[in-house]
């Protein structure tokens, strides 16, 4: 049974390890190019783009890409807009350290749930309305900052604004409808990384706005409230642009998408079962909490840290904090690149070692960040930490496609939720209590990162091995086919539902690394629907 091409989780890019990481176009002859369609980019038979032209705004594909990542970027700006202004807000609202910490936890918790709901919303309304609904309905929550009087109001508003981070789902979903599955990995990875940069941009933007508004004559306690209008306007503007310039499908037809969405390609219960019972899923949920999670945590605490510890001016603390988030531009793709590079020589074992090294190095740098007393050293360790953590995020998603073929979508979603959960947890433990300083909190968080990255040593693939153990020598159990086909019952196998997994298993043989020759593809060309 052919699966719906382009549905979230069906991306095949990068999963074989043989495709170049930075594939800007589909070189495979198996993807049939539709030459009758009149689009600016070459498209396949479903009119999805097969080429990723970064600096084009051509309708509909590249325009969708830009609308999509900028919307995600905007929600990051709104969600973390309060963080660099905390030194002012805490005086206005008379906040204690736990108030500030709890509000930070609230800001990342809301999206754990909204991301889960967003998938269903995109199925019902389409990604364009999903995205527009979310950012235009969260614009009032941003404007609500002007009403906040005390700690509970502050926490509530930050919680509500945090829901908008679910644009991650609409972003990835929307691009699955526009880009061929062979390049969707790069497209989605770029969009995710660039969206995350919003957490850095806001640290730069908000203090500058605050200073300008203060110079224009407002008192500090009013100026920060006015500054919040700008992220609110950005939300509204992006929502309108998405509605006027965007379209759900390359052909602009929403009802077709709705028809497709009704076709259940697999039973949700089964897919969930195989995701939940695979222990590797949970290890990666934990791990992502200590790469993406700590990145979100730092977005919330680092500006205040530099302001207090080194007595910097607000906008200077903001500039330094911004550098952390902006490193996403290159650091996250770098992690994916190193993962693929290690896989070429050492296969999956290389990917696991790469992830462990990057994430642990990030943890060590976080530890040092809390210890140093000199500003240049603190900035250095912060940047090294950002590269380590963000590259680890990229490397994580270099491994996730191999955990399961059947449940890739849910595992990706659970991992993403784990990131937010890790952020809430670390903020709660280390930055919301008055018993130790922020500096100590950073050091302890570094130790926890190192500790919580150790479980990656337990991830074992019978066909490829793990960090310390070689692959199984058993002929049956040590094959890729056995691993991926074991997710299907005999009944389902009789119906032929496991064919896609078989094909995937064959292609994944390159994860053995080294000079192992992959099995040749069968002479009959399979259609591009894998």
């Amino acid at each position: 049974m052919p699966e719906i091409e382009g549905s979230p989780g069906s991306s095949m890019h990068g999963v074989t390890g043989r495709e170049p990481v930075l594939a800007f176009s589909v070189a495979s002859p198996m993807v049939h190019t539709d030459r009758t369609a009149k689009f600016d980019l070459p498209v396949d038979s479903e009119h999805k783009a097969t080429v990723f032209k970064l600096f084009s705004f051509a309708n509909p594909h590249m325009r969708t890409f830009h609308l999509s990542w900028i919307s995600f970027f905007t929600t990051f700006i709104s969600t973390f807009a309060a963080a660099p202004l905390v030194p002012i807000i805490r005086d206005n609202l008379n906040l204690t350290k736990s108030d500030i910490g709890n509000a930070g936890v609230a800001s990342v918790s809301g999206s754990i749930f909204s991301r889960l709901v967003m998938g269903a919303v995109c199925d019902l309304l389409g990604p364009r309305y999903g995205c527009a609904f979310l950012i235009m309905l969260s614009a009032p929550t941003v404007f609500c900052m002007s009403f906040v009087n005390d700690a509970s109001g502050y926490m509530t508003v930050r919680f509500m604004i945090g829901f908008s981070l679910a644009t991650f789902v609409s972003c990835q979903y929307w691009m699955s409808t526009m880009f061929n599955s062979k390049i969707i990995g790069l497209v989605n990875g770029t969009a995710a990384g660039w969206g995350n940069m919003g957490g850095g941009a806001t640290q730069l933007l908000m203090p500058v706005l605050f200073e300008i508004i203060k110079k224009a004559g407002a008192t500090p306690f009013t100026a920060w409230r006015i500054a919040f209008f700008i992220p609110g306007w950005l939300n509204v503007i992006m929502g309108i642009l998405v509605l006027t310039l965007g379209q759900d499908l390359p052909d602009g037809n929403l009802s077709t998408l709705q028809k497709k969405g009704d076709v259940a390609k697999d039973k949700f219960g089964k897919v969930l079962w195989y995701a939940v019972t695979n222990y590797r899923t949970w290890i990666f949920v934990l791990l992502y909490g200590y790469s993406m999670g700590v990145e979100l945590t730092i977005d919330n605490v680092i500006a205040e840290y530099f302001y207090d510890r080194f007595d910097l001016k607000l906008h200077l603390a903001g500039i330094i904090a911004a550098c952390f988030g902006m490193a996403n531009l290159l650091a996250r793709p770098f992690g994916g690149f190193t993962s693929d590079y290690m896989a070429k020589r050492f296969g999956m074992r290389g990917r696991l070692w790469n992830l462990w090294l990057l994430q642990t190095a990030g943890g060590v740098c976080c530890l040092c960040l809390g210890l140093v007393n000199s500003l240049p050293l603190a900035i250095t360790f912060m940047m090294l930490f950002s590269i380590g953590a963000q590259a680890a995020c990229g490397a994580t998603f270099g491994i996730i496609p191999f955990i399961s073929r059947r449940s890739l979508g849910i595992i990706s979603g659970m991992t993403g939720a784990g990131g937010n959960f890790g952020s809430g947890l670390t903020q709660l433990i280390f930055f919301a209590s008055a018993s130790f300083s922020t500096a100590k909190g950073l050091t302890y968080m570094g130790i926890m990162i190192i500790g919580c990255t150790l479980p990656v040593t337990l991830v074992h693939f019978p066909q490829w091995g793990s960090m310390f153990l070689p692959p199984s020598q058993d002929i049956v159990k040590g094959s890729e086919e056995h691993y991926y086909v074991s997710e299907w019952t005999d009944e389902e196998k009789q119906k032929g539902m496991h064919q896609a997994s078989l094909k995937f298993a064959e292609n994944s043989r390159s994860e053995r690394g080294g000079k192992v020759a992959s099995a040749p593809t069968p002479p009959e060309n399979t259609p591009n629907r894998v």
């Binding site: 008379n94 204690t96 235009m136 009032p140 002007s146 008192t219 500090p220 509204v236 929502g239 007393n373």
Partner: protein, 204 residues
């Protein structure tokens, strides 16, 4: 030459981890200045509206000539312990350059022998809290050499409260409601219009 270079690097790194501890310590200062302020114990003042009049003079019971080193006097508004609780950014530290107890400057004056006084309008960026007033005397090298404060050594008497402005304005609230309404209405409008267009094209 490798050993000295390596040693230098280690030394530099080590020195960056160890806090620099030079500077004036509060515990080394004598309370030789008598400071009084107009707010009484427990009085509540409003930021942006009320005023504080501070007077200070050298305590004559100390040896005359002690104050010849005083060049300037800086009077500051300081947080009482209750306003520092759970707020580590207002922490009291003995090393004065790291101390965050007294961040708000009231006035700085060259030191004169006669009674000094100053009337200060409480600025609008002073946060809500419980406060006292402290004056530092600085020498020619701009180091603290003496102090005086309106409260006792435990900072438990003669404390007054300041209520901050909210920072909210009716005009801001109205603007906020207008923009929020615009966002929701335009979203609903788009949705409705597109549904109508779709229905109309279906009927064709």
């Amino acid at each position: 030459m490798e050993v000295p270079a390596g040693f230098l690097v280690v030394y530099l790194l080590f020195s960056c981890f160890v806090a620099s501890s030079y500077g004036v310590y509060f515990s080394s200062l004598n309370e030789t200045i008598i400071v009084t302020a107009t707010p009484t114990q427990g009085q509540v003042l409003k930021a942006g509206e009320d005023q504080i009049t501070v007077t200070w003079r050298f305590n004559q019971t100390y040896r005359a000539g002690t104050d010849s080193a005083y060049k300037t006097v800086k009077v500051k508004l300081c947080y009482a312990p209750i306003s520092q609780k759970d707020r580590s950014w207002r922490k009291t530290v003995d090393l004065l350059k790291k101390d965050k107890t007294c961040p708000h400057k009231i006035v700085a004056r060259p030191d004169t022998a006669s009674n000094n006084s100053f009337t200060w309008s409480i600025e609008r960026d002073i946060p809500s809290g419980v406060y006292f007033v402290r004056a530092f005397a600085f020498n020619a090298q701009d180091e603290q050499v003496a102090y005086g404060q309106t409260t006792n050594a435990h900072k438990s008497t003669n404390l007054f409260e300041i209520q901050a402005i909210t920072g909210r304005h009716v005009s801001l609230d109205i603007a906020s409601i207008c923009f929020s309404a615009f966002s929701i209405v335009s979203l609903a409008g788009f949705f409705y219009m597109e549904k109508r267009k779709a229905k109309a094209s279906q009927q064709k």
